[in-house]
Amino acid sequence: MNQLRWDPTLEEWVAYATHRQDRTFLPPAEYCPLDPTKPGGFPTEVPRESYDIVVFENKFPSFAPGAPEPDEGSPLTPAAAGRGICEVVLYSEDHYATLAGMSERRIRNLVEVWADRYAELGSVDFVEYVFIFENKGEAIGVTLHHPHGQIYAYPFVPPRPKRELEAARAYRSQHENRCLHCDLLSQEHEDGRRVVAKGEHFTAFVPFYAHFPYETHVYARRCVPSIARLSGEERWDLARVLKRLLVGYDRLFGFSLPYMMVMHQAPTDGENYEGVAHFHVEFYPPNRTAEKLKYLAGSETGAGAYIVDALPERTAETLREAVEGAAP
């Protein structure tokens, strides 16, 4: 059952997907459903003995193309079919690999796949936002360790990107058509203290207003609305900067760092987002130290007000040292 219910107090949809309670939870490595299917072995999600990069529809989707119309709801609290598409992206057939440990070439290939999925899913008539993301590590709540990401093709523009786009549109109208993200990036370049990695076409930095101690944003230098609009050279550079950042993350505390990785880009709802949407990747690692996690507790969850116990200038310095220490 996939159903949307409208919260009129926050003016946002909440998605219900009750079948997800039954999804596979941290199986032993020999029974990983994301490994290739070996001769004589149990059938996994991938019916081949070997693969490069694979995408498939999630068996336990939060949204489904054929979701039925709900028989619940009222004018005050409407309900809608949870129509959408949920995909799983397998980065590698190597069960023990991580994105940080992959070659720049493989990450570049992954960028190609992400761009292809953005274009294809975004062309579906009921899809308004293609959200590419990865949850990594048990601290984030992953149920499968095999290196993979996910894509949610939402039937609406979700609240956080929507808020960001509204802010960018308002800024543009108040500042002679300037792009909010381009100006933020210029400020970070000028200041320099929060920049952790710079490539030819992408920059990674801890934003001035980071919500997590080691939150990092990876911005395209060029004002480009989506991953699909990146040039070949920009795709290579994105792979290089992601690789440097991820290796730095793993050096930070000496272990493979859990994180949420999300991509913000133009919705696919038919509106014009030139100069408003600016493609970028955001990372939210939950660790504030090697042993302590940042929890979204009372203030963050109930009030929406983040409290962070480390200044971005300080965490950026530590992270930059980890990134630079890892450079070849």
């Binding site: 995408v55 498939f56 023990y96 940080a100 290939n109 793993d250 890892a326």
Partner: protein, 33 residues
């Protein structure tokens, strides 16, 4: 980039992306392999 889309037994789809002639090796710190 080669892209092959196939139906799965339960009606879902699966897409195989293959990057021909491109050797790949995991390397660098951060690898758990």
């Amino acid at each position: 980039m080669k892209k092959e889309r196939e139906p799965k037994d339960d009606g879902r789809y699966i897409i195989f992306y293959t990057f021909e002639g491109e050797e790949d090796e995991s390397f660098g710190e951060g690898s758990t392999s």
